[in-house]
């Protein structure tokens, strides 16, 4: 694996909770500068996959490499280049917005981070809430704080689990712009979302999973060409329904 090109390598990754297999032998790569859309129905293993990539949970088997560092064997080096925006924007209730950014800066050992933090607050339109405590913020505002904290150390790998929930249209547009900018600078981004219409234009590649297994992977055109029954102008939503329905039939047979 060349860490200059491949930012994330997931190899034969399996996660089992008690006796339930949440993710089953999943393998994929994410190149630097790529935005991968991780899509699948509820309970398909998207959040588990992101949690294992970020080192929150260890894989039951298989490996996850971030810039060549194994997230289990060498977690600190692997996590140094990583940020995750969780599906639920859990913040520290007694810390202000600014203190969350300050905390992030401390954890990642950043110097002269203030200007960038100011810029992020402005970009996500929360400058006026910098002294607000986390529990005084709405869900959308909390999400914005979590996104700002994740962007602060300019991670090489950025994971976003349902990042659009609670965001207003302005914030969604700003987030897209920021993600595209980060990707151009070489960040590998993985976005998990149910809002297929929203992410289809953002992501350069997609990975459709169901019951913890990969059903389809590639660009929209590549997946479309693999699915014969679909018309040439099929949207991501059409592809998703077709792929997951075929998955159902395969499971049934």
């Amino acid at each position: 694996m060349d860490p200059d090109t491949v930012a994330v390598r997931v190899d034969n990754f399996t996660k089992v909770y008690d006796q339930r297999t949440a993710v089953d032998r999943l393998s994929f790569d994410v190149q630097r500068g790529e935005i991968l859309g991780l899509v699948g129905p509820n309970g398909s293993g998207k959040t588990t996959t992101l949690r294992c990539i970020s080192g929150i949970l260890p894989p039951t088997s298989g490996s996850v490499l971030l810039l060549g560092h194994d997230v289990v064997k060498d977690p600190i080096a692997a996590k140094r280049n990583l940020a995750i925006v969780a599906d639920d924007p859990n913040l520290f209730e007694s810390l202000t917005v600014w203190e969350h950014l300050e905390f992030s800066a401390q954890v990642f050992g950043l110097q002269d981070w203030q200007a960038r933090a100011e810029g992020l607050l402005e970009e996500f339109e929360i400058t006026d809430r910098r002294q607000s405590l986390a529990d005084e913020l709405s869900r959308g505002m909390r999400q914005k704080v979590a996104i700002c904290a994740a962007f602060l150390h300019e991670p090489a790998v950025l994971l976003l689990d349902e990042p659009l929930t609670g965001l207003d249209p302005h914030a969604i547009r700003n987030l897209y712009a920021a993600l595209e900018r980060q990707a151009k600078e070489g960040t590998a981004v993985i976005v998990s979302s149910h809002l297929l219409g929203q992410i289809s234009s953002l992501c350069s590649r997609f990975l459709i999973i169901k019951n913890g297994r990969a059903l389809q992977a590639g660009t929209i055109d590549e997946i479309r060409s693999q699915l014969d029954a679909l018309p040439d102008d099929a949207s991501l939503e059409d592809i998703f329904f077709h792929a997951t329905d075929v998955g159902d039939e395969t499971d049934a047979s």
Binding site: K79, Q106, L133
Partner: protein, 552 residues
């Protein structure tokens, strides 16, 4: 340690103080501050008086001896129990989200977890010492012992948690569930066989047997682990207290060092524990208090509908239906009352003769502890506004008058308390200790007292919103808030009962007749208070701001 973790520790502490300061702003905040100051004075004042009075403060010599002999063993047993019953290492959702994916080592995270919880234990220790320090030789020893003891328990629990989050995670479910019980049973069996408990019938024999176990060299040696904590409590002077405190801190440091040296892969277990615990807390917050964390029962029978009564009937029906679905807190309270009743039922000396006219006072004597107990336990019976902490917006959207909503929300809990009290005292009536007729006459009085008691709980809840369980375990402000509410409630209830007692005293002096008549004469005053509180609850509900998150 990662500087980010140190920053977080400091800022969270300062943030908690800042939150408290913000809460004391404005007229409502000032009123809250006065309430807090009042409750604190009521709690701390009597303790200071005890300290200042050498005769009251003097610790019983026999108690000191008992503590010296049994204290280390009891403390050790408690630590073992805490350790084996530990659910695992807990991290808050924010900690999991922000710290687990960060470049922070497991050891740093564990140390952070220990320090974070220790901070809470220090505060709790100081709070607890207000009430327990009087049992120490000197107050400073009492304060230090309380703090050190709670930290010791916390570390024991975390050590157990670390084990269950790693090794325990690989154990089969039945082993995990019954392992601790099996270990305790095995130890009890061994002790029993060693001392021959089975053949003992006298209490003194059992005590002698326990003493022989205590004197076993192995146990004596192991008890040295906890002896410093007991010595701090009984220190005769400052220098001795400092010496034993240092020894206790040494024990704590060893526990921390063991945890650090183990460096077990606890993260996944901690995530699972934290998720499980959060689910439990969510269920408790939204559904019936700390005693119903295991979820609703499978009972699905429906109660007959009540008359509309301005909407109160519908709301009361909903709450009563929930009562049938969450029997655990009721069974728990019933069990505690039974524990209390058992010795009372054996007290033949207070059994009245049928003809001596003592029935009323005996019944009252039985009833009073029941009322006090249920009044104190209402934090676990929350079939009212407190249960609907996350549904207040829905309640406000209903086309009902606030007074009707208030009545509807109070009915279920009031009925429940009254039925529990009546069942308990009826049991005593069957045994001939209480009088059934008196009980029947006193029922309306009981209903009104319970209405006022539940009403006060709800009034303070709406004025100072709080959840019935903390958002995260070990939140010191949560305990403080509960104590404040309990103090205010007790004070208000005492004032109400004192005013209600005035007509009873007058009737008793003028008529000198049956006590039942005097008791019944309190009903108009109690009814007036009940109406007043219900109206106030309605007003508070109407002005309740649902846009603000409810603090823990």
């Amino acid at each position: 340690m990662n500087p980010g973790l140190l920053y977080l520790l400091t800022k969270q502490t300062l943030g908690t103080l800042r939150k408290a300061r913000r809460r004391f702003k404005g007229p409502k905040g000032i009123a809250l501050f006065i309430g807090v100051a009042l409750a604190a004075t009521l709690m701390i004042g009597p303790q200071i008086l005890v300290f200042m009075n050498p005769q009251l403060a003097a610790t019983d010599v026999s108690f000191q001896g008992l503590l010296d002999e049994w204290g280390p063993h009891a403390l050790l047993l408690m630590a073992i129990m805490t350790s084996v019953s530990s659910g695992g290492l807990y991290f808050s959702p924010a900690e999991v989200t922000h710290l687990f994916p960060a470049p922070i080592s497991r050891r740093d995270l564990l140390l952070y977890n220990i320090l974070c919880r220790m901070k809470v234990q220090i505060l709790s220790g100081l709070l607890v010492s207000i009430f327990l320090a009087r049992w120490a030789t000197h107050w400073y020893g009492g304060v230090a012992a309380c703090v050190l003891f709670l930290i010791f328990m916390q570390l024991s629990s975390q050590l157990g948690g670390l084990f269950f989050a790693t090794v325990g995670d690989r154990l089969a479910r039945p082993v995990k569930r019954f392992g601790a019980i099996a270990i305790l049973c095995a130890v009890a069996l061994l002790v029993s066989r060693h001392t021959g408990f089975g053949a003992m019938t006298e209490f003194s024999q059992i005590l002698a047997g326990l003493e022989s176990v205590r004197e076993t060299p192995g146990i004596q040696q192991v008890a040295w682990i906890t002896r410093p904590f007991i010595e701090v409590l009984g220190s005769p002077d400052v220098s001795r207290m400092l010496l034993w405190s240092a020894a206790s801190i040494g024990v704590l440091a060893i526990l921390v060092a063991i945890m650090m040296a183990l460096d077990l892969a606890y993260l996944e277990g901690a995530v699972a524990t934290s998720r499980k615990f959060q689910k439990m807390l969510e269920r408790a917050r939204g559904g019936g208090g700390a005693m119903s964390v295991s979820g609703p029962s499978k009972a699905r029978f429906s109660l007959p509908h009540l008359p509309f009564l301005g909407g109160a009937g519908a709301l009361a029906w909903r709450q009563l239906t929930e009562v049938t679905r969450h029997p655990k807190p009721i069974l728990m309270l019933g069990f505690m009352m039974a524990l209390f009743l058992l010795p009372m039922s054996m007290m033949s000396s207070i059994r009245p003769e049928p003809a001596d006219g003592f029935g009323f006072w005996a019944t009252l004597l039985m009833l009073l502890p029941m009322v006090v107990m249920t009044t104190l336990m209402t934090m676990h019976l929350t079939f009212d506004f407190r249960r609907d902490v996350d549904r207040l917006a829905f309640l406000k959207s209903l086309p009902l008058r606030p007074f009707g909503v208030a009545c509807g929300q109070l009915i279920a809990n009031t009925m429940l308390l009254t039925v529990l009290q009546l069942v308990a005292v009826s049991f005593l009536a069957v045994l001939g200790i209480a009088d059934v007729l008196t009980l029947l006459v006193l029922t309306p009085v009981l209903l009104l007292i319970n209405w006022v008691s539940v009403g006060l709980d709800n009034l303070f809840f709406l004025l100072m919103p709080h959840r019935i369980v903390p958002k995260d375990p070990g939140q010191a402000q949560f305990m403080g808030r509960l104590m404040l509410v309990m103090g205010l409630k007790s004070l208000s209830l005492m004032v109400t009962l004192a005013v209600a007692a005035i007509p009873a005293i007058v009737v008793q002096m003028v008529v000198e007749g049956p006590g039942e008549l005097a008791a019944l004469s309190t009903t108009p005053v109690l009814a007036a208070f009940a109406l007043l509180f219900t109206w106030l609850i309605g007003r508070s509900f109407q002005s309740f701001d649902v846009s603000k998150d409810i603090p823990t």
